[in-house]
């Protein structure tokens, strides 16, 4: 069965330090992977996606993600965290069995960046 796992409910980082939010996936075939961010009382905002090409994908707000096929991972990273990055982050993968336009989301990881 297809799935997305975000193993950490919460990640705590000091401002200025690098951050990593983990995501692993399980799909049949080549994955289409996404990261979204949700600020309080807001909808989800698209950050970045991997479809093909370079394993390091750059997105909005200085975020990037590294696709690792052998580890079936797509971890979100940022070299220097900001307090304003504090939010809920969702990893998602395209549903390869149910019609290609549906996304399967992870449970989310809450990022807290402390001053």
């Amino acid at each position: 069965a297809q799935s997305v796992a975000q193993p950490e409910d919460q990640v705590n980082v000091a401002e200025g330090n690098p951050l990593t939010v983990k995501c692993t996936y399980s799909v049949s075939g080549n994955p289409y992977l996404f990261w979204y961010v949700q600020y309080p009382n807001r909808g989800l905002q698209f950050l970045l996606k991997y479809i093909t090409g370079d394993n390091l994908v750059k997105g909005s707000y200085g975020f990037e993600a590294e696709f690792n096929k052998s580890q079936t991972s797509f971890h979100l990273k940022k070299p220097s965290a900001l307090v304003s990055d504090s939010a809920l982050y969702f990893c998602a993968v395209r549903d390869e069995e149910g019609g290609y336009n549906k996304l399967i989301f992870g449970a989310g990881t809450r990022l807290a960046v402390h001053p």
């Binding site: 909808g43 989800l44 395209r94």
Partner: protein, 113 residues
Amino acid sequence: GAGVSQSPSNKVTEKGKDVELRCDPISGHTALYWYRQSLGQGLEFLIYFQGNSAPDKSGLPSDRFSAERTGGSVSTLTIQRTQQEDSAVYLCASSLRTPPAQYFGPGTRLTVL
């Protein structure tokens, strides 16, 4: 241009009442999705519309849930005889046919008393 809009932003209703939630997708986006986000949970897919094709209703949790998309644009999600477990944030998203990067609205927070 304008993003995805949803109304109302908040809805409080009594158990057993019907509710309608509205979504206006981004102009030109042919695909429209409804998701449900319960407290502390990820996103649960509900239904997907693509152009004039029959909708994918595989995520609807019960026959109390239905959705329409009129004229290939605005969509309404209807929940009949609401139950307390229906309380959640209902998110709408739209996308171009491909690639499937979805753009989300701000959501409707539904509270069933």
